[in-house]
């Protein structure tokens, strides 16, 4: 667990070893699965985790979101008012959830679907813009945009040790879908590299 950077998720509140991320986008973008994978990796890293999805009528109109919390302490509410990080994979998602990001937090947006003028939140939070669809197309599977985003988020936040997490992918997948593991790993790495390249550039 030495890879976890407490200064990121302890942000100001000493007693709370808690890191939360809100993930959001259109239905069908694999938002819920992206969150689950993060929670699973957190669990495998020995953390307490919760994953809380949108459900019911909220999902009509084609939006989806979930909240993942990772913590060394037991976790109270699995939902949050303000969040350490927000991932927005669509314009309406950014509109609705972007403002949840904490001062000094992290905002990751899918620039393939979100207009590129930095939103207000970008000013108080760290802002990472990932052309997820394009990157996914490049590795040959447009459906992998969510995994690209997750990879990008994992390095951007450093909340989870990246390589250790990536190793959990096969066991995370249910047997009939396990053959997807290599492609998912590829996507995670693609997101990671994009962010690392960005950071170098900055």
């Amino acid at each position: 667990m030495d890879n976890i950077k407490p200064e990121i998720f302890m942000d100001g509140e000493m007693w709370s070893m808690e890191y939360s991320v809100v993930m959001s986008g259109f239905g069908g973008q694999g938002i819920l699965m992206m969150g689950e994978m993060l929670a699973y990796c957190g669990m495998k890293a020995g953390l307490n985790v919760t994953w809380m999805p949108s459900y019911g009528a909220e999902m009509r109109g084609g939006t989806a979101n979930c909240t993942v919390i990772l913590s060394e302490d037991r976790i109270g509410a699995p939902v949050v008012g303000q969040s350490a990080a927000v991932i927005a994979m669509s314009e309406p998602a950014l509109q609705k959830f972007g403002s949840l990001v904490q001062e000094g937090g992290l905002l990751v947006v899918n620039s393939s679907l979100v207009e590129d003028d930095h939103p207000v939140e970008g000013q108080k939070a760290r802002f990472i813009s990932v052309p997820a669809r394009e990157l996914a197309a490049r590795i040959g599977d447009e459906k992998m945009a969510n995994m690209i985003m997750l990879g990008a988020f994992m390095v951007g936040s450093e909340v989870i040790p990246f390589t250790q997490a990536t190793r959990q992918v096969p066991s995370f997948l249910p047997l009939p879908r396990r053959q997807l593991a290599p492609m998912i790993e590829k996507a995670l790495y693609s997101g990671r590299e994009y962010v690392l390249a960005l950071e170098k550039r900055d």
């Binding site: 019911g56 009528a57 999902m59 009509r60 109109g61 084609g62």
Partner: protein
């Protein structure tokens, strides 16, 4: 700007609000809303109609039609409508119900409203699943159809046989009009509008209970594209639920 000689030949009915429907792409609920709106306009009922809305994906009808509305508990719209109509016999009272609502939990209420010849009009949206709750089996789910609660497909010997409500309700003496229509192409939509008009007329002329069953797509829970959903209506729904008029007060 259009040229001056141009006329609008198709636009939204006047009792429809501007609010964008919350329905999924290809969902026929919106279309049925529009048809109801057109019928309200045709009979100039915007000022006297009262809608009773069942629980289902259509529950927000009151956001889209500028008429008085009442939410009914799941399945109980015909009873609620009865209460309203008995107090305001001159209002035009209609219910809007899904197939889970009407043919599942609300079986008793719809049958007895029909048996009473309650002078109301029922808009019945048969999409063969529980849409709002995420695609569970409905009483109208076809044999073999996969839903979240029939993961291997509906097996009639275990899960029961589909109910044909338009026919069943047509067999009751209090029913003035009962028809089934489909939303899948222009021809059927024109018949649907005609049936709806007749159902409205039944109430306006105090003939008794009227109902129109709409075959309707739920692409989301059918896990099909809108076009595939349309094809499924044609190839599976229409044969199992034949469109037609099963009772008509004019006959």
């Amino acid at each position: 700007m259009s040229v001056v000689t141009e006329k609008k030949v198709f636009e939204a009915p006047s009792c429809l609000t501007d609010k964008v429907f919350h329905f999924c792409p290809g969902c026929h609920h919106g279309l049925i809303h529009r048809l109801v709106g057109e019928a309200i306009d045709q009979f100039a009922l915007a000022g006297s109609a009262i809608g009773v809305i069942g629980v289902g994906c259509g529950v927000f009808l009151y956001d889209y039609l500028t008429v008085d509305c009442c939410e009914a508990p799941h399945g109980r719209a015909p009873a609620v409508a009865t209460g309203i109509k008995r107090v305001n016999p001159d209002s035009f009272v209609f219910t809007y119900q899904g197939d889970g609502d009407l043919a599942g939990i609300g079986t008793g209420e719809i049958i007895h409203a029909a048996a009473r010849g309650e002078n109301i009009t029922v808009i019945f949206v048969n999409n063969s699943v529980y849409g709002m709750t995420g695609g569970q089996m409905a009483p109208t789910t076809l044999p073999g159809q996969k839903t979240t609660t029939t993961p291997e497909g509906r097996e009639p010997a275990r899960d029961g046989y589909p109910l044909r409500m338009a026919e069943l309700l047509a067999s009751l003496e209090g029913t003035a009009y009962s028809a089934r229509v489909s939303c899948h192409d222009n021809l059927h939509l024109r018949r649907a509008a005609k049936a709806l008009n007749k159902a409205f007329r039944a109430q306006v002329e105090k003939r008794g209970f009227s109902v129109v069953e709409f075959l309707s797509a739920c692409p989301t829970n059918w896990h099909l594209t809108p076009e595939q959903s349309r094809q499924k209506i044609i190839s599976e729904m229409v044969p199992a639920y034949p469109p037609g008029v099963f009772r008509d007060f004019d006959d």
